[in-house]
């Protein structure tokens, strides 16, 4: 064991319950072995050094979306990021931007979930259900694949420059979810449903600078959904009723 195995972790500390104490970095030294993820480092710090450190985690396998944060300036999931992958032995950890800090690396996700709910993130059908499955071709199912992959980790939400200046903007994940249902051959929501996103707080707010795509740990491309929704809106305006209009 040599000194160079010891990495310095600078972690942003702040507690909304004690607003008098300004956000500040606290430094911890941890021995890094190959394969050690940022999440494992955080767990070790909390277990062995500082029981008051707050961060979220659950699956530790990049599927539950709990542990998004800013790692050396880049937004990613702590559990899939190797500590030794930065070519530097100092690592800075900060909470996701565009949301209020509750404590340390835990942010208040309420606005994110509010936007999610706004798009009616569930399948809408008009008539009765068939006895068996609703038929769908594999080809049709594949159209929604990339949006289905979203784990709602809010990496995109934290990376979005529009949200930084307009907190009422709905954000990339909500549009990806909406497009997941718009493109689902089984969904029967009326096309005028898109009025909900036909505004600057909606799909027209996007700068299309693709930060959300860069930040997504699951290869979802929220910008594709925004472009798709915009096209559909234009089409509806030009040609009136769309496929699901009565």
């Amino acid at each position: 064991m040599t000194d160079k195995d010891y990495f310095t972790f600078k972690i942003l500390r702040y507690d909304a319950a004690e607003p008098d104490i300004e956000p500040h970095f606290q430094t911890y030294k941890i021995r890094v072995i190959p394969g050690l993820t940022i999440l494992m480092v955080l767990l070790r710090i909390r277990d062995e050094i500082d029981g008051t450190l707050a961060f979220r985690s659950s699956c530790r396998s990049a599927v539950c979306g709990s542990c998004a944060m800013v790692i050396n300036g880049k937004i990613d999931l702590a559990c899939r990021t190797q500590a030794a992958s930065f070519g530097s032995n100092t690592i800075i950890l900060e909470p996701l931007p565009n949301m209020q800090i509750i404590k340390d690396l835990v942010v208040d996700m309420t606005p994110f979930w509010d936007m999610y709910e706004k798009v009616k993130p569930y399948m809408i059908r008009k008539g009765d259900y068939p006895d068996k499955e609703i038929a769908q071709t594999e080809e049709d199912r594949k159209k929604i694949d990339q949006y289905v992959n979203c784990i709602l980790c809010a990496c995109c939400y934290g990376a979005c420059p529009v949200l930084a200046r307009n907190p009422d903007y709905m954000g990339p994940a909500a549009f990806a979810k909406l497009e997941r249902f718009m493109l689902d051959s089984r969904d029967e929501r009326p096309d005028n449903f898109l009025q909900n996103v036909d505004s600057e707080d909606g799909v027209w707010g996007c700068d299309t600078v693709l930060r959300c795509i860069e930040a997504c740990p699951k290869d979802v491309r929220p910008t594709d959904s925004i472009v798709g929704l915009r096209k559909q809106l234009v089409k509806n305006k030009l040609f009136g009723k769309g496929k699901n209009e009565d």
């Binding site: 029981g51 008051t52 979220r56 659950s58 699956c59 404590k103 068996k132 609703i134 594999e138 992959n149």
Partner: protein
């Protein structure tokens, strides 16, 4: 104090399904220590079983055949009436999930696709690539948003309030606000998932502590068959992240260091698709007899997918490939995956019947935290997602019946006195004791993995038992850095540790007493199944000093007389 007709604890598949079934008629509150979408169900990969007979190779599949496979897979410890109910319900709930939007993979005739899974006579596992848990949980959460279910996220249940006969609700900690809230409810449903983190090597999420089993146990609710712990054959070395059984269902091989498909020696017919208990023991044996590979992260055998080809891997197992790339830097298209068996699932749990009822009136349990028992001594792959949704639904039906017939009012005094007790206990966790929670937990996990693992002996189990009793003693002096209840993850960890010690204790004691080998419980000193003495369920209830007292009860056999299990 909060009031609800029904309190549901757990936002995984089981809890959400129960909530969706009740929320239109009753005032339902769903409490979950993580946001529902972060629940461990999200991680399920391979699929969910239902005899839909969609696969061209399975046109004559039926719920009866599914029942038989499940009973046999469980080494005849499952209650056959309950298994029958689950397998009959299976097509109903799979279609229901599809109707609610679940994007299942499809066959060329546009029906739900089905793949082969271990221990099943037919390819009956419905799936969505290798993210079946993800799509099911999203669908049910979406449904709960549609139905406007009241969810309390990041609220942890600390205690259950019962008077011995009746359940009155629970004591809940709101992590974000830092408040302890008594929740009065006419009916309470636990759907708190598994306890995998009691073991050092586990495929489970960090949140799977098993507090949802320890808490009712300490409130006097019996727990059942806890010695039956499933070890999944294929977890990635190092992190123990699961490599789904679908890898083998799609045709993957298991290889030892001689390049042999060693399953030929252990299950010549079923090969890699023998039930999990058998495959895990086979891998362990290969490793113990020197035919494994060495790595700084541990000994392993190989899971080889290369012959499936890039296209099939990208289409059917994209998540597995992503995990391999992210977590061990291996691309399974070009290299075999280094795997080892590790703890995966708990067949045992809160003692329930086929209606999700417990002996305490008004207290129900469903999903992995419950033991009906449908999985018996060993669960088949794809049957757990099924169990969670079916019994979540059946719990909602039972609760509905109970609430219709009962004018019961929860006892507020009882709730308040339990709250005071909880507050006192929290203070004690920060009163200068000498023991650190993580040390106790580390030792517990090591003990469980080393001494109560795939193969067991009397000697080792006895050592494990004394170790756990010692750890429980040390737990009395456990200390956390702060007694604040607001955003204090260390405190919650220390609180849950008590349950983890109880869960470990019950597993080890049940395993020590059960002098036979059945399903996942494999005793080197008693290698045979012994039906005459041991065809019975283990039931643990709390004794006056907090220790588990063990008794036994019969197994329900309807159509399938126990036979030797051959694959």
């Amino acid at each position: 104090m909060l009031y609800h007709d029904v309190l549901i604890v757990g936002g995984g598949l089981s809890g959400l399904r129960a909530a969706v079934g009740l929320c239109e008629k009753y005032d339902v509150g769903l409490v979950s220590k993580v946001h529902p979408i972060r629940s461990h169900s999200i991680a399920a990969q391979g699929g969910i079983n239902a005899a839909l007979a969609n696969n061209p190779d399975a046109r004559d599949d039926t719920p009866e055949k599914h029942t038989f496979d499940t009973v046999k897979g469980g080494d005849y410890l499952g209650d056959q009436d309950a298994v029958e109910i689950m397998c009959k319900e299976a097509p109903v709930i799979v279609y229901e999930m599809e109707h609610w939007g679940c994007p299942f993979s499809r066959f060329p005739d546009n029906t739900i696709a089905q793949r082969p899974f271990g221990g099943a006579g037919y390819p009956r596992t419905c799936f969505s690539a290798d993210i079946t848990g993800h799509v099911l949980l999203n669908t049910l959460y979406e449904r709960s948003v549609y139905k406007d279910v009241k969810v309390y996220s990041e609220h942890v249940v600390l205690a259950l309030v019962t008077d011995g006969n009746l359940c009155h609700g629970a004591i809940v900690l709101d992590q974000i606000k830092g408040e302890i809230i008594p929740v009065a409810a006419k009916a309470t449903v636990f759907a708190t998932g598994g306890y995998g983190r009691v073991y050092l090597y586990s495929t489970n999420a960090l949140s799977n502590t098993g507090s949802g089993i320890g808490i009712p146990f300490r409130a006097g609710v019996p727990v059942k068959d806890m010695e039956f712990v499933q070890f999944h054959p294929t977890s990635l070395i190092g992190t123990n992240i699961l490599m789904t059984e679908a890898c083998r269902g799609e045709g993957g091989y298991l290889l030892n260091n001689k390049g042999e498909r060693f399953m030929e020696r252990y299950a010549a017919k079923a090969m890699e698709l023998a039930p999990r208990d058998i495959v895990s023991r086979s891998i362990q044996t290969e490793i113990e007899e020197g035919r494994g590979f060495e790595h700084e992260l541990g000994k392993y055998v190989q899971l080889d997918l290369r012959h499936l080809g890039a296209q099939k891997i990208m289409e059917r197992l994209p998540g597995i490939r992503r995990i391999c790339l992210d977590f061990i830097g291996i691309d399974p298209i070009y290299e075999p995956i280094p795997i080892m068996p590790s703890q995966h699932y708990s067949m045992g749990g809160i003692d329930t019947n086929e209606k999700s009822e417990t002996v305490v009136k008004g207290f129900y349990a469903a999903g992995e935290c419950a033991c009906v028992s449908v999985h018996g001594a060993n669960r088949l792959g794809g049957n757990s997602l099924l169990d969670t949704i079916v019994f979540g639904k059946l719990a909602s039906i039972s609760v509905d019946q109970y609430l219709q017939s009962d004018g019961f009012k929860p006892d507020e005094k009882l709730l308040m006195s339990k709250k005071a007790e909880v507050e006192h206990k929290i203070k004690q966790l920060n009163s200068g004791g000498s023991q650190r929670p993580f040390k106790i937990l580390d030792e517990l996990r090591l003990t469980m993995s080393n001494l109560a693992g795939i193969f067991r002996t009397k000697d080792e189990l006895q050592q494990a038992l004394s170790k756990i009793i010692e750890l429980k003693e040390r737990y009395k002096k456990v200390n956390v850095s702060s007694s604040k209840i607001y955003m204090n993850y260390e405190l919650i960890g220390a609180w849950e540790l008590e349950s983890m010690l109880d869960v470990g204790h019950i597993i080890v004691l049940g395993a020590l007493l059960r002098e036979e080998s059945r399903g996942a419980h494999s005793r080197r000193d008693f290698p045979m199944r012994r039906d005459a003495e041991w065809l019975k369920h283990t039931v643990a209830t709390i004794g006056k000093d907090g220790e588990p007292n063990i008794s036994y009860k019969g197994v329900t056999i309807t159509k399938y007389e126990p036979m030797e299990r051959k694959y």
